[in-house]
Symmetry: C2
Subunit: 222 residues, 2 copies
Amino acid sequence: MSSSPRLSSPAPAKSERYHHGDLRRALLDAARALAAAGGVEALTLREVARQAGVSPAAPYHHFSDKNDLLRAVATEAFELLTRAMAVAAESTDDPVQRLKAIGAAYLAFAFAHPAEFRFMFRHELCLPPGVPDPLEQAGTASYGVLLTAVEAAQKSTQVRSGSPDTELSTLGLTLWSAVHGLSSILLESPMSKTSTPEIGQHLARSVIGNVLRGVLTEEQRD
Amino acid sequence: MSSSPRLSSPAPAKSERYHHGDLRRALLDAARALAAAGGVEALTLREVARQAGVSPAAPYHHFSDKNDLLRAVATEAFELLTRAMAVAAESTDDPVQRLKAIGAAYLAFAFAHPAEFRFMFRHELCLPPGVPDPLEQAGTASYGVLLTAVEAAQKSTQVRSGSPDTELSTLGLTLWSAVHGLSSILLESPMSKTSTPEIGQHLARSVIGNVLRGVLTEEQRD
DNA sequence: TTTAGTTTCTAAACGCTGTTAAGTTACGTT
DNA sequence: AACGTAACTTAACAGCGTTTAGAAACTAAA
């Protein structure tokens, strides 16, 4: 008994304990919830602390900065995106369909997490060059899923001839640009309120189809 | 003489006059300069007023809000973009080359005005739906330049057959997505410091070429 | 079990921001 | 010349990010 006194006294509610337990996790979750509810401009460090039930200075023991907190949220969002793209990639064995599935997953992520998507790519979040940057790594990992699928598609289908620029990097960049651009436009445009995720998915299929037709010889229908 | 007393007394320096003359213009210019120098986060309403040599409350006689000032800056940026795209469209008579020129102009604008480009598309700048929004109109005008060129290209070249989705809107959206996505990625990516405008132009040509190949029957080389 | 050391938090303050209210100055008109 | 209006200033408010100093709780060794 005396060796485990904690069992005798019931654990107080997290909000009443002086030491939070996992404040870092709570701060990240609160930040995510605030961004989802009111956009990035509603994401205040003081409000995050308030939601977690701690003082305004408490977050500074877990994040060096407000930017540091935002960077961590963005990094986790990229990890989620990477997983979603990887799951989509495993949904089919056909390389072209796989590319379409990855693009659809990308757009679905943007619609599911609009607030995070809007600041995941902001360059001011990145650390200065030279310093290892988890956000940059997480973004590169997402891009890597696409690049792998592009490479597979290139091997299995003939790359359109007569085009000197259809290297891996250019093909991947073309696809990433098209899908990222579409996601941004649908998300930021005023018409985004009227456009449902279903419309977005349909447009994504069309846009990806258009691009793939330009890049691969084999034509594949929706 | 008495009818034009201003000529007798030399006009005092703008900074010394109580009435600024054209404070609205000065605020817009100062805002643009601040954004160009230090990004959007450096664009403070108080600093804008400081640069214009007026008190922090003065801007409120010309803009209802900080957002209102930002919206005006973004609107003017869209007007500049529209002009640049229109000029590029007139640079050639070939419809496909015209599309490439417009895309290159878009990317060149993004590189020339990165700070403005980064917030021109933020949806929180837009007015609530229903209210006539100059920013939305200016953006639609830019898009219109592209749509007109796409329409011309569709008439002059055969649209690739067997694709049910190659309507005007989808084609335009595909091109806009690809070019906008590429601009965003090049601008926001950490590698953007190393990528020169020339590299960007080259990538733009490749990406647009890839997309056009998917959309139009006639193949045209760079 | 006490003690020392370290981590995690609070309280209070700083300068900055966007914004508003009330008062002042200059302009345009009659 | 006087008045009404528009453009500005001064002063203040709450809220923000951040820092400093100190209190509280956990950890581990004596």
